[in-house]
Structures are given as structure tokens and as C-alpha cells.
Symmetry: C2
């Protein structure tokens, strides 16, 4: 299981490479919630999301031989761009499997970072088999989006920085997909804020981790229908789940409407852009899912990759 030393080691790797993103604070938000709220703005991270942290921590540790062979992953989202950029920075090639129906803007994003995009049909082809086949045939290292200890530890640096740049927390809210961000964050939070409550936030339609914690084992659900496209995972990871069991106090869920409200608040009051999954943890705070009177609260704003047209559609 990863430890705080792994997070510290990741922080060393990321020094001068990842952005130390700002911690935002809003008087209005404190008045609204009754707590002191610190927002870690990972929408300002390289590639627009926290995903760069984990990808770079993993990829910067490749051996010279591995760098020559390159990396491969499958992702239609922020992890794709994160892997492409991290690979370019260490001089490795990256193959990214993306569904045929991925938005052009995301394809161009990956290609802009020098990644090679391989399209596949998500309805007829098995993505896991496909990516493993490429990894084996070409000797490429598979960079998993969450179920990898270097990735988990790398993501944990977001909450490490959040606490270093604010104060010890009583609560921290983190969005949950496969569990990479929350597992690293939970380890960092407990190391720097003993007694902290780590609260995971899932979209209502995709509460696989909430169900898994209640059941005491990993539960798989159908692909959830939610605007939070970064959290359409169907089960917690094999490596992330035990960390979540050990360090996470509870999982709360938010509706798509609550996510839109949080995106609107971020836009109008904080003047920043959040994608739906990026606003998920914040939505739980705004919707009052937990009483925060007198609490010292950290919240991850995990990403801001949404095009203006899509945002307009959600606000319309």
C-alpha cells in the first residue's frame, strides 16, 4: 500500500515540472457554508487537470530501455493528454487508444503534445485487450489511469500542496472515479492533518465506490449516465480500493444538477472554469451534503477541460 513517503517522492519528481497550482479562498463561500474553505485549483495544472501529476510521476521513472520502447494507454479524457505530455517531456513516444467518437478537440490535444492516437470502436472492440496487445507487441509500458502506485502517489501531491499552502484540515472533499486522486490524497491528508475526514464524492448515477465500501468488496456497475465524464468508471481499482477502505471516511453523491450549480458558482463568483468532474467535490460542499460549521475544509477542483459550446449547453 502506498505511504506518505511515496507522495513525497512524487513531489520531488514534480518539482519545477508540474505547476504548483493556487489555493483559492472566497469570503462569500465561507459565509455560505459556515466553514473555512480552501479550493485547490487543478484546472490550472498542465493539461488542465490533476492527471499530469500521476502520469509524470510514473513516466519519469521509466528506464532508458523503457523510454526507447515508449508508453501506451487508453483514455478519451484528461489522462490521455497527461500521458502524451509526460512522455514528450522524458523523450518517450506515446500511443493513446481513443474511442472513434472522441471529441476532435481531445484528439487534437493529444496530437498537440506529440502523442500518436489509435482509434478504436468502443462498442465492438475490447479496450483492455487492445491496449495489452499493443503493450506486448511493441514492448510499451502501459500507464494505467489510476491502478498504479506511482500514479496514485503522484495525484496525492495535489492535497499535499493544498495543506502546505493553507493549514491543517478537518475535512477534505475529493472527486472519485477509479480512485487514483482520492487514494493519494487521503494518504497525504492523514499525514499532514491527523484526524482529518476524507470525503469522496461520486455522481449519483455512478456510485460504484460507495456501494463497494458498503459491501466491503469491489462492486461493478454498468457504465453510468452522468455529465461527469471523468467519473464514468464502473468499479474501484484493485490497488486503490484498499487505500480507500483504510483512509476514506465516507462517500457522498451529487446529482448532475448539483454539479451544474457548482460549475455556475465557480464561473460567476470565482471567475474560473471547471469541467463537470472537476466541480464534483465542490458540488458536495455547496449542496451542504456535510455540515461544515466551523470546519477547515480542503476541496479539489480537479479539472477545467470543457469547451465553451458544451458549457453553454449546460447553462442554457
Amino acid at each position: 500500500m502506498i505511504t506518505y513517503d511515496d507522495v513525497l517522492s512524487a513531489a520531488e519528481r514534480l518539482q519545477g515540472v508540474a505547476h504548483r497550482t493556487p489555493v483559492l479562498h472566497s469570503r462569500g463561500l465561507d459565509e455560505l457554508t459556515g466553514g473555512t474553505i480552501y479550493l485547490k485549483a487543478e484546472n490550472f495544472q498542465r493539461v488542465g487537470a490533476f492527471k499530469f501529476r500521476g502520469a509524470y510521476n510514473r513516466i519519469s521513472r521509466l528506464s532508458d530501455a523503457e523510454k526507447r520502447a515508449g508508453v501506451v494507454t487508453v483514455s478519451s479524457g484528461n489522462h490521455a493528454q497527461a500521458v502524451a505530455l509526460a512522455a514528450r517531456l522524458v523523450g518517450a513516444s506515446a500511443k493513446i487508444l481513443m474511442p472513434l467518437d472522441s471529441p476532435e478537440i481531445k484528439i487534437h490535444g493529444v496530437e498537440g503534445f506529440g502523442g500518436e492516437v489509435v482509434r478504436f470502436d468502443r462498442y465492438t472492440q475490447d479496450r483492455e485487450a487492445l491496449v495489452r496487445e499493443i503493450a506486448e507487441r511493441e514492448g510499451r509500458v502501459l500507464v494505467h489511469p489510476y491502478d498504479d502506485e506511482y500514479v496514485m502517489a503522484g495525484q496525492g501531491t495535489a492535497v499535499q500542496e493544498l495543506i502546505e499552502d493553507s493549514e491543517p484540515l478537518t475535512h477534505v472533499f475529493v472527486c472519485v472515479g477509479g480512485g487514483g486522486l482520492i487514494s493519494g490524497s487521503a494518504v497525504a491528508a492523514h499525514a499532514l492533518s491527523p484526524g482529518v475526514k476524507v470525503i469522496g464524492v461520486e455522481p449519483e448515477a455512478g456510485n460504484d465506490v460507495q456501494q463497494s465500501l458498503l459491501a466491503g468488496e469491489r462492486i461493478t456497475i454498468p457504465v453510468p449516465h452522468t455529465i461527469a465524464d471523468g467519473q464514468q468508471t464502473t468499479a474501484p481499482g484493485k490497488l486503490t480500493f484498499p487505500v480507500i477502505q483504510k483512509y476514506v471516511s465516507e462517500i457522498v453523491t451529487v446529482s448532475d444538477a448539483e454539479i451544474v450549480t457548482a460549475m455556475r458558482f465557480a464561473f460567476e463568483r470565482l471567475k474560473i472554469v471547471l469541467e463537470p468532474s472537476g466541480a464534483c467535490a465542490f458540488a458536495a460542499v455547496l449542496a451542504g451534503k456535510v455540515d461544515l460549521t466551523g470546519a477547515i475544509v480542503g476541496v479539489t477542483l480537479s479539472g477545467g477541460n470543457i469547451d465553451a459550446g458544451k458549457f453553454a449547453g449546460l447553462m442554457g
Copy 2:
């Protein structure tokens, strides 16, 4: 005429009261323009725009007797909220004349800062006469949105901070309405970056300052039709114009479409929210109005007050 000492004095006043807003930098933007671009993010200022700087610099200098009498201004925009907040911070009352058709969100903003809103009909009532009548009858100090040396010097602290937090500039782009921001900024820019070119940016439809500079005297135009509602002024100020004549190299104009493009770039690439006037100076840089190859460029992002619905309409 204001001098750099006035800007420094304003900076002292604002210390610990105004936010020292971040200076943003984007590799992608540098590649696009061929220059090094520093963006001063005044959308993160208190009340969401640079206007707080000038208002507070003016209002914090009221005598005790003046504070007891309070202040008055007329504004439907960011200056209204800036005056309301600044007055509250020094314990003075504020009366803000706002047109009957002002958006409710702006009315609530002023009232939220404790300002008293007085509605008037902008089609039948003379705003200048009205505000002067209240000032005289109630002994209130009129806080002009730009034609006031304390206001001008206060706004100049934005560019002072921009240069202190980056490096000496070859060019600085500043949006122009009545000329408060650009006059203070031009004085600060020339003090900290000798030889700098100060470039004012107006909406195409409202180029009263451009016309005035060419004519060598203040020209008045009809109220311009533009989405840049912070720049619907009809003439440069009496006090701002001589400063602009002395320190501003040129005025360039941008179309509403170019402003929308800049707002979209800020949203999608920088993950920040700009209102139309707030994106005006940036629009000139993005549209390539001036060759910036090898230049070291400062740009004011002057405000971010736009509701999500209106933004959606512009992006649709």
C-alpha cells in the same frame, strides 16, 4: 497631471485591502504570438474587476466629516460595486444611482456590499444632474468612475504590480473606456519600463479616444453599440485625456467578434472567465493588431463579471 508617486501612494493604501492578483503566463499563447505575454488577472480582484483599486484609493482618503456624509456615484457596472464595497470598508454610506433596466444581479451585488441603490430612468432623466443634486443636497462626495486623480492613480497599481511580478515590458495593452485604467497604467508603465509602448484598446464601435487623439482634442460620439458594456463611454475624461495624449503610443480597436474569440480562448485555454470589456485588450493581442515578435508584453484582463447565461448566449 498624476505622477508615479501618486501610483505608489495608492499602492500603499491598497496594501492588504485589494488582492494582489496573479500574473498568468501561457506557453501556448507565447507560441501563438511570438512574444512573451504576461496577463494581469484583475477578474480575480475584489468585486471581480480593477475598479476596486481606484474606488478604494479615493474613498479611503475621505475626511471624517466626509465619511459621515457618505459618497454617491452613478454606474450600472463594476464601479457601482467597487464604490459600495470601498465605502463599507471605511464605514461610510454609499448611494449608487443605477438605471431602471440594470440587471438584477448587479443591483443585488451593490446591495450585498451595503450600498443603497437609487433607480433612475436613463431615457428621461439626466444622470449627471441627478447625481450632482444628491451630492449637493446630502453633502455626499461624488466618486467619479474615471475623471478623478485618486481613481486614476489607484487603477495604475494594476500595471505597477504586473511589471513588478514579471519583468520590464516593451508593450502593454490596456482596455480604454473613460481612460481611468489606461492613464494610471501608462504612468506606471513608463516609470518601470522606460521606452515602453502603451497601447489602448477600444471596441470598434466606440473609438472616441482614438478619434480624440487624432483630432488633438476630446471628441464626443453617440453611445456605441458593443458587447463591451464597460466601454460604452462617449468621450475621454477631462483629466484622463492629457495623460493619454502624453503617455499612450496608439489606440487600436477590436470587433465584438474578436472580443468573443478572446473570451473563448480565456475560457478554454486559460480556464478563466472574462467579461467582454475584460477581454478587450487581450483580443487585440490575439488578433495580431500589433506585431509582437520578440516583444515582452503586459496585458490587463480587467474584469470577469458576466453571468453564465449571458456568456452562453455569446458562445452559442
